[in-house]
């Protein structure tokens, strides 16, 4: 079981959250080329190591956030809510 530390709700079972996959910047749809857009849509780094990814706390606070996870060991670190700084988490709320 993966314990995912939601910035709002604290560590939660991964099954209570939704996994959104790799977190990467979306190109501006009004200016980018179709190739850029498809690259954004489909291509992934998929590293075996640390990866910044996006989660949605679907049954808890219902917020999206990003977190760094080691894809081999399952370690998690630095959850970030959009618009806030790394480390500014509430952690143990309950």
């Amino acid at each position: 079981m993966l314990l995912v530390p939601c910035p709002n709700c604290g560590p939660r079972n991964a099954a209570d959250l939704s996994y959104n996959g790799e977190s990467h910047a979306r190109p501006d749809p009004t200016t980018c080329t179709p190739e850029d857009w498809r690259t954004y849509l489909y291509l992934r780094d998929n590293p075996s190591g640390w990866l910044r990814e996006s989660w949605y706390c679907s049954s808890g606070c219902r917020k999206h956030f990003t977190i760094e996870r080691h894809t081999l060991t399952g370690e998690l670190r630095t959850p970030i809510l959009p618009g806030s700084k790394p480390g500014a988490t509430k952690g143990e709320t309950k």
């Binding site: 079981m1 993966l2 991964a14 099954a15 939704s18 996994y19 996959g21 790799e22 179709p34 190739e35 498809r38 690259t39 849509l41 489909y42 291509l43 992934r44 780094d45 998929n46 590293p47 075996s48 990814e53 894809t71 081999l72 060991t73 399952g74």
Partner: protein, 753 residues
């Protein structure tokens, strides 16, 4: 008691009444209380089966049964007396049979010589033939002919007692034909009685010409029946040829029609092995009497001889075929062969087996380096060597051969995909799997047991129909079946309607099945090794050396944990680490790596004859040859390279499996494991060249890589050798993602493995 059908009138009018297919003519008895329908038959040639035709001129039909198209004038009666059918036939001028005897029989029938008891029936069925005289065999055959046509036609008839007797069966070619007939045990004395009753000693006087000789053709029945069988099962043509004359049948024939002659052949073959033999091959098979009876020992001897002979012939043929195949491959060295003789030889000499592949010298240069020693990598190496003559190949794997997805999958193969691209591709793979044991000279234990994809919702059922149609168009054996048929195929499934996910139908794909996945890996490894391909285990690729720009240069070599290799071609055949390897040459792939978990139960007796897949329940089940149930599911939602199992998986899996098969709730899981699946957005692989010259990929095989192993090896080999992407894998090129031409196989590939 004796019921006689009116030759010209009433009886004829009743022919075919209420009887299916116009095949069986029962004339009801005159007395309503006597519930024994009569069977009326025109001319009966001995043992011939066929069909009475509806039209008749004399109250009885020209008899297709006999193959004689002359008009017969015989008034004949038969009677169905509970389990007994007897009849007497008369005819004029039937070329195949002695006329005299018929007349004799006819006279007897007129005199009302009709058996009353079941014993008579039994004796007729059982032992008429034992006499060894053509006539008696004829009588039996006649009898069986009638008997044959009484069953199967009136299944519900209370007058036919179906509970007595046994089901005979007959091996015709490779098919065992089982008959729904009722031949009771023989009682010699009753037989004798009946024989006397019917023929007595008069036969020889009235029909001397029918004395059997060594070459007496036995009245045509078996070959007729076999020919008929051919017609029925083969072309479906409703024509009948006997004695050089052709007759068409007037209505569809059914299984029962073939039974009679086969039954005769069966009896003859079983009981009088030494008396008769089958000559020639179907449909020209002849049953020939050879006079004297042999002893049982002689029969056994004959049997053993024939078995040994057939095995030897088989082996020689096999050997010859493989030699020819090897010769066709051209100049390459054939792999060392396993054979039954070799096994015996080594067994006798207590010789140990050589290593299945060499421990090769690590060279500093190869023509091709293949990364990944699984089915895909080894198959690519094998086909490069076998089909294209490129043998200077190194296959490197960071663990042992088959340690990744090739050894972790649930070994299911099928080709009932949704898109034409997918179907064509996987069907070729199935073809290769079919002949793999022969090609690789290693038993891969392919069990073509049938594959069921269950539909639990209307929309799923609709998709199944869609898939079935796509498949049929591509010539794939695939159809949608209903719950009744599902239950018949796989009785352990709960097809009731009160479940949470009722089974509404299934896509049935008979060619699907399971394979021993390790054997496939070993087979390809051994095959490739024999061609001189070097297989390096525990050799990790640390970097791929290139010259030119990042992401568009040219491959020059590979840096491994055992040293550098210079090579112009690198093929990435990894699963799980496809992105990692590709990132060494700055090729980004549309891949995320998810673990897929599987589990097996303790072994139990075989009860699951098919592979069962349920998309809605995210589960698929098959039973191994050892009796373990192998479960798989969909990939875990979170992408990771970690292959640890989770409790959620087990919990969910168990719940879903019990939805399908409540009966196995007491079974225990033995173990679970995970393998890494490289998932692509369109559930299709990425194959072919990349922007980096000399760097090929065969990756993104998600949850369906094993079943595609042979074909992707073959196609990748062609791709590497010819420098052009073969048509079969053109749709799967990496460029489809930037061009926006995704394949769209999700509907059939997700979960359905």
């Amino acid at each position: 008691m004796l019921c006689r059908a009116n030759p010209a009138g009433d009886g004829a009018a009743q022919f075919g009444d209420g009887i299916r297919n116009d095949r069986l003519r029962f004339a009801e008895t005159a007395e309503p209380d006597q519930r024994h329908p009569c069977i009326a038959v025109g001319c009966l040639h001995v043992g011939d089966v066929g069909q009475l035709e509806a039209s008749n001129t004399c109250g009885y039909q020209r008899n297709a049964l006999t193959g004689c198209d002359k008009t017969h004038d015989g008034g004949v009666l038969g009677r169905l007396d509970r389990r007994v059918v007897t009849h007497i036939a008369t005819a004029h001028e039937c070329p195949d049979l002695g006329v005299q005897r018929r007349r004799t029989l006819a006279r007897e029938s007129d005199e009302g010589v009709v058996p009353e008891t079941t014993e008579t029936h039994r004796s007729l069925c059982g032992d008429c033939v034992t006499d060894g005289h053509g006539n008696q065999q004829s009588i039996m055959a006649e009898h069986i002919g009638l008997h044959g046509r009484t069953h199967g036609d009136r299944a519900g008839d209370a007058n036919v007692d179906r509970s007595v007797g046994q089901r005979p069966s007959l091996l015709v070619g490779r098919h065992r034909v089982e008959f729904d007939t009722y031949i009771g045990p023989c009682r010699p004395e009753a037989m004798q009685e009946r024989r006397d009753e019917l023929i007595g000693g008069r036969v020889d006087e009235t029909e001397p010409e029918s004395t059997p000789s060594a070459d007496t053709k036995l009245l045509g029945s078996p070959q007729h029946a076999l020919r008929r069988h051919e017609e029925l099962t083969g072309m479906g043509e409703k024509r009948l040829t006997v004695g050089g004359q052709s007759h068409s049948t007037s209505c569809p024939l059914e299984q029962g029609e073939t039974e009679v002659g086969l039954e005769l052949a069966d009896l003859l073959a079983q009981r009088r092995l030494s008396d008769v033999e089958l000559r020639g091959s179907s449909p020209e098979m002849e049953l020939v009497g050879n006079g004297d009876k042999g002893t049982e020992a002689a029969q056994r001897c004959q049997l053993i001889h024939s078995i040994i002979l057939s095995v030897v012939v088989d082996l020689l043929l096999h050997h010859y075929r493989s030699m020819r195949q090897t010769a066709e491959m051209g100049k390459h060295k054939p792999p060392a062969r396993y054979s039954a003789f070799g096994l015996l030889w080594r067994g006798l000499r207590k010789q140990s087996w050589p290593r299945i592949w060499r421990e090769p010298e690590f060279k500093s240069s190869y023509d091709v380096v293949i990364i990944g020693g699984g089915v895909h990598g080894l198959a690519t190496a094998y086909y490069l060597a076998a089909n294209h003559g490129i043998t200077d190949i190194a296959v490197v794997d960071r663990a042992y051969l088959g340690s990744g997805g090739s050894g972790r999958n649930t070994a299911i193969v099928r080709s009932n995909y949704l898109t034409p691209e997918g179907v064509a591709f996987y069907d070729r793979s199935l073809e290769l799997y079919n002949s793999m044991s022969n090609d690789l000279n290693l038993n891969v234990m392919f069990s073509e047991r049938g594959h069921l994809t269950l539909a639990h919702t209307d929309s799923a059922l609709r998709t199944m129909h869609w898939r079935a149609e796509v498949n049929k168009l591509q010539g794939i054996d695939s159809s949608v079946i209903d719950p009744t048929e599902i239950k018949k195929l796989t009785p352990s499934l709960d097809v009731s309607t009160h479940t949470r996910y009722p089974i509404m139908g299934a896509l049935y794909h008979p060619p699907g099945g399971t394979i021993r996945h390790d054997a496939v890996v070993w087979g390809y490894a051994r095959g490739a090794d024999a061609y001189g391909v070097d297989l390096f285990q525990q050799t990790e690729v640390l970097d791929i050396l290139t010259e030119g720009d990042h992401g568009s240069g040219k491959v020059t070599g590979v840096r491994t944990s055992r040293g550098d290799i210079s090579t112009p071609v690198v093929v990435n055949c990894t699963a799980g680490w496809a992105s990692t390897i590709s990132s060494m040459v700055d090729v980004r792939l549309p891949i995320t790596t998810h673990p897929l978990q599987a589990a097996v139960t303790e072994p139990v007796k075989t009860f699951l004859p098919t592979v069962v897949v349920s998309g809605s329940l995210h589960v698929y089940v098959s039973q191994t040859d050892r009796g373990e149930l192998v479960f798989g599911a969909s990939v875990d939602p979170v992408a990771t390279y970690n292959m640890g199992g989770t409790l959620e998986f087990t919990e969910e899996l168990a719940g879903h499996v019990l939805e399908l098969m409540p009966g196995i709730s007491k079974m225990r899981l033995l173990r679970q494991w995970a393998g890494l699946c490289d998932m692509t957005p369109d559930y299709s692989p990425v194959m072919g060249p990349t922007p980096v010259d000399g760097f090929y990929v065969d990756v993104g095989w998600g949850t369906y890589g094993f079943k595609a192993g042979p074909v992707s090896g073959e196609q990748m080999a062609a791709c590497v050798a010819n420098g052009a992407t073969p048509d079969l894998i053109k749709p799967f090129e990496l460029s489809r993602f930037t061009e926006g031409n995704l394949v769209g196989e999700k509907g059939a590939a997700a979960v359905g493995h």
